[in-house]
């Protein structure tokens, strides 16, 4: 232990300096392919020891209960429940019901089958809180149909990859839950605030599609219209989605139950739909549980590392110092916000959205919440959360590591990745325009939220 103390003295950094140095070192480890949760855990641990002048006893004592406390945190128990709900949703058969309904109304228009895919993704997003699951499930349902009606490969895959991001924009959303917990905001209000921007995203994608098919008429075919009675019948078949969404999100908002209870009811409801639809065999149930297990463990390991690292950062005082400096310079609030959002856009190209939020929100949030946007602090927090959610999700459909692009592209071996990249840029454009719109008019996000 004396060696530790000597090393610390030799390094001779103040706590604040430690806080600042920790971030580039952490990024270095992550870029060297360290598992992100592991890197945060290690730097957090070392940071604590250094900040305590080389005395490891406080942090060792803290770690006796830290993992258990983090994993048993009641607010966080919502995450495995929403993940299981998403797994059940993929087995519920609702993806094809939603697609049939949307296709009935839109399929005969130019680009209509692609628009229907986006609509179905939006509907599926209402019972699934994960982008990857939405992209994968809707991809399996809609990709064969798109190709059947003569849609070009890159356009089809790009549409579904972009549509998949609606899974997380439209509540429930796992990322929003994490944001709510880090910033101590009300989950119900964040869900409500995400609703209109989510719908706007779907509308933006539909407009993008209609522009695309006019620029490249050869990229889309058409299909004969579906008779009206069939359209209504197909729409009626999607009622479980509406019911589950209404009960879960409505019930959480109305205060009938806590968010975790809402997630449990949602998981039970989607599980029931899958069971009654005859899609839930023992084998598939096992696969759903294993799938939930992998993602849950991955998320909680990052949450654990982040909690230790952020604990250390708070101890160092670096985030508060940064906030004071930025605020002291008197920069225009919108300029600071734009810089932060641009940072997320760039970073989103290389890192997954959850890690990015856990890593950076504790640093940026004090800065943003200190700025004067002419709103209540709660409104600023909610507005910023929705903006961050959108910009980090753009990372899922931007090269080089857009996960949604890989998932969909893997389903369509005939389409080269470059084709998907080219077509997806139109959707990225739509995303960026939406972010600009939401930054300029905060009311779009906030008008549903009581002050």
């Amino acid at each position: 232990m004396d060696i530790l103390r000597e090393i610390v003295q030799w390094v001779g950094l103040s706590r604040l300096e430690l806080g600042f140095w920790s971030f580039p070192i952490l990024l270095g480890l992550i870029f060297l392919r360290a598992p992100i949760g592991l890197a945060m855990f290690l730097i957090g641990l070392l940071g604590w020891i250094f900040a305590m002048n080389g005395n490891p006893t406080p942090i060792l004592a803290k770690l006796k209960s830290e993992t258990y406390t983090t994993f048993s945190n009641y607010s966080l128990t919502i995450i495995p429940m929403f993940l299981l709900m998403g797994q059940f949703a993929t087995l519920s058969g609702m993806s094809s019901a939603l697609f049939r309904a949307a296709e009935g109304f839109l399929g005969h228009r130019r680009g209509g089958v692609a628009m229907a895919s986006v609509g179905a993704c939006a509907g599926f997003g209402a019972i699934c809180g994960s982008s990857l699951a939405t992209a994968a499930t809707m991809g399996r349902t809609a990709l064969p149909e798109l190709r059947r009606y003569g849609y070009s490969g890159g356009f089809s895959t790009a549409t579904l990859a972009a549509g998949g991001t609606l899974g997380i924009l439209i509540p429930p959303s796992v990322i929003l839950v994490i944001y709510a917990i880090i910033t101590e905001q009300n989950i119900a209000k964040l869900f409500l605030a995400a609703f209109v921007p989510g719908i706007l995203a779907a509308i933006g994608y539909v407009i993008t599609i209609s522009i695309y098919v006019r620029l490249f008429p050869a990229s889309a075919g058409t299909r004969p219209p579906v008779p009206w009675p069939d359209r209504w019948r197909a729409l009626a078949d999607t009622w479980p989605v509406l019911a589950i969404f209404g009960i879960v999100v409505g019930g959480i908002y109305a205060g009938w139950f806590t968010p975790t209870e809402g997630a449990a009811i949602g998981a039970a409801g989607t599980g029931l739909v899958a069971l009654l639809g005859g899609n839930l065999t023992w084998r598939l149930l096992g696969e759903a549980l294993i799938g939930t297990a992998k993602t849950t463990a991955m998320i909680f390991f990052i949450v654990l590392g982040a909690s230790l690292y952020n604990n250390f950062l708070a101890l160092s005082g670096a985030p508060q110092w940064l906030a004071d400096v930025v605020l002291g310079q008197g920069f225009a609030p919108l300029l600071v916000l734009s810089v932060v959002l641009a940072f997320y856009l760039v970073f989103g190209c290389i890192m997954d959205s959850l890690s990015m939020i856990l890593l950076t929100v504790p640093i940026f949030f004090p800065v943003i919440s200190g700025l004067d946007f002419g709103m209540t602090p709660e409104h600023v927090a909610i507005w910023f959360g929705i903006l961050v959610l959108i910009v980090v999700e753009v990372g899922l459909i931007t090269p080089p590591v857009g996960m949604n692009l890989f998932i969909i592209n893997n389903m369509d071996r005939d389409t080269p990745m470059a084709e998907t990249y080219k077509a997806v840029l139109f959707f990225v454009g739509s995303d960026i325009m939406r972010v600009v719109l939401l930054v300029l008019f905060p009311a779009i996000t906030l008008f549903l939220i009581p002050a």
């Binding site: 992550i30 870029f31 060297l32 392919r33 360290a34 598992p35 992100i36 949760g37 592991l38 855990f41 290690l42 060792l60 770690l63 006796k64 209960s65 830290e66 993992t67 258990y68 994993f71 048993s72 945190n73 009641y74 966080l76 128990t77 495995p80 429940m81 299981l84 009938w256 139950f257 975790t260 209870e261 449990a264 009811i265 998981a267 039970a268 599980g271 096992g286 759903a288 549980l289 294993i290 939930t292 297990a293 992998k294 993602t295 849950t296 463990a297 991955m298 909680f300 390991f301 990052i302 290389i350 890192m351 997954d352 959850l354 890690s355 080089p400 590591v401």
Partner: protein, 184 residues
């Protein structure tokens, strides 16, 4: 050996998943009970009185069981995450490495990760001993806190065993250039 560890990891995830399912059913029943009870008290007639007389209400201690159960489930979920290489990483900056170098890099981080998982499990064990010593119980159900810790320690032990195997497997992968652990 490989099949045994695979079975262990999957069985552990299954048990965690079944606990999660149980909590979901418990919570749903509890809310139905609570809402029925509210309804019974609100209705000023025979049906309302009947519901109240049945004693339908929320299930006490659901919160505590959820917290303890989910904590156990997450420890039980760690082995599959490890075994299937699901931990989040940033790959772009190392994708240009030669397969050999990348293999050793992965092996290195896997060893560090294993070290951390063993460390966490040991700390958790110490935590359990602390609660064993002070006899603290939960608020509603009054069960000793160390029970919940003991379950978590059990799951963390399985996670440690699987982690040791994964570290070993990654080193063999790096040395031989042959894939052992599944991707995804």
């Amino acid at each position: 050996m490989h099949q045994l560890v695979k079975w262990l990891a999957r069985a552990s995830a299954m048990i965690g998943g079944i606990v999660l399912l149980g909590l979901i059913v418990l919570t749903t029943l509890s809310i139905i009970g609570r809402e029925l009870s509210k309804l019974g008290h609100a209705m000023d007639n025979g049906i309302g009185a009947a519901i109240v007389a049945l004693g339908v209400d929320e299930i006490r201690g659901t919160y505590e069981l959820t917290e303890a159960g989910v904590a156990f489930a997450i420890f039980a979920f760690l082995p599959v995450c490890q075994f299937y290489g699901q931990h989040a990483t940033v790959d772009v900056f190392t994708s240009g490495l030669r397969p050999r170098a990348l293999g050793w890099l992965r092996a290195f981080w896997e060893i560090v990760l294993t070290g951390v998982i063993l460390f966490i499990a040991l700390r958790l064990f110490e935590g359990m001993q602390r609660y064993l010593g002070n006899g603290e119980t939960t608020l509603f159900l009054q069960f000793p806190v160390w029970w919940a810790y003991a379950l978590a320690v059990g799951a963390a032990t399985i996670a440690s065993v699987v982690a040791l195997y994964c570290a070993f497997a990654r080193v063999v992968e790096a040395a031989t250039g042959r894939a052992i652990l599944p991707e995804g």
